[in-house]
Symmetry: C2
Subunit: 190 residues, 2 copies
DNA sequence: GTCTATACAACGATAGAC
DNA sequence: GTCTATCGTTGTATAGAC
């Protein structure tokens, strides 16, 4: 792996573990096994490196989500697979956590991938729900946009609860809870 | 207001706006209108000051939640009032955001109030749901613990979505969404 | 109780040799 | 492309006068 690649991957890990403000160029260099000068040769500074890292993570998250949500099955099955796929729950969401970082939010360039990722997930979930509704699998009265927002919110909030508790249990409970609520809107005719 | 009080209040604001890592003693002093020596006279350092600030915020959050959840009305009405009460949505949850701060999570003393606050909210919501179920207002099949976790998660996740979007709209949608899902489990006999 | 002075490490970046 | 040296600033805290 090239030095440039190692720098980006190290930044991705550190942004996930510690966030932007708490990640220093020095820490990135050490994890990448690169020197000071090497990092500043490949990147203009911390913001440019962070943008490369965040863009890549956003891209991967979207690809992973698309994999679960475009798979065959009923809407509820696909959403269940999306919510229950293997996750590093206690590490939190690598994109969601960035919303708490003041310097990320203050920089439109760094914030854009975060904003786009959540807009995409909400839209994609709403599409899946709309398909289920159109097939008669879900109640005709179900509002797909607000339901999609609630589903993504449970995911993001589940991470918060898990980290607060120091346990994955609240995350699993929240997922089970929202799937139980959603089941009440299935027609049984999927 | 005493200097000590001003220091605690300034710390509360800064922890909310920027988090622990990104909040410096200097910034706290400036906002409080206090000098360097004055701060270190009243507190041993940043961690002790943060503990005072976090404890107070946790206490207030709990009191506010209790106010909505103990009010008269059906379970759904009380939870609706809790979820829809006025909030500084774009600032995020002052307690929830701390779960993303590496130094808060690494310090058991600072983390304890965060953990306790969410444990309390989940338990209290489960009680309200159990009351509604006992009264025949909610379906007997409803799992109160997982539903409570889902409701809190929607709240916390709603903040994340709103900050990512730079708009309160996704927060409101997520709340509307989960209340819509919950309505499907009402018996209509409350 | 509050102030100024001081200390020392870390941060984020630049300079210039190799 | 990578290294070491250097820089100015900020973070966090202590010392000691008033």
């Amino acid at each position: 792996m090239s030095t440039s690649e190692r720098l980006i991957e190290s930044t991705r890990e550190l942004l996930w573990e510690r966030g932007y403000v708490a990640t220093s160029p020095k820490a990135i260099q050490q994890r990448a096994g690169a020197g000071q000068g090497s990092m500043y040769h490949h990147f203009t500074g911390k913001p440019e490196l962070a943008l490369a890292a965040i863009s890549r993570t956003a891209q991967e998250m979207r690809a992973a989500g698309e994999e679960q949500l475009s798979a065959p099955g009923t809407a509820i099955e696909r959403i269940t697979r999306y919510l229950r796929r293997e996750r590093d729950v206690l590490k939190g969401c690598p994109i969601g956590r960035l919303t708490q970082d003041p310097e990320i939010m203050a920089d439109p360039t760094l914030r854009a991938p975060v904003e786009e990722t959540f807009a995409w997930v909400r839209g994609r979930l709403a599409e899946v729900l709309a398909e289920g509704r159109a097939r008669g699998e879900l109640a005709a009265t179900l509002d797909v946009a607000t339901t999609a927002a609630a589903v993504v919110a449970v995911l993001q909030g589940g991470y918060v609860l898990a980290r607060a508790a120091g346990s994955t249990a609240p995350f699993d409970q929240a997922i089970t809870g929202v799937l139980g609520l959603l089941a009440g809107h299935a027609t049984g005719q999927g």
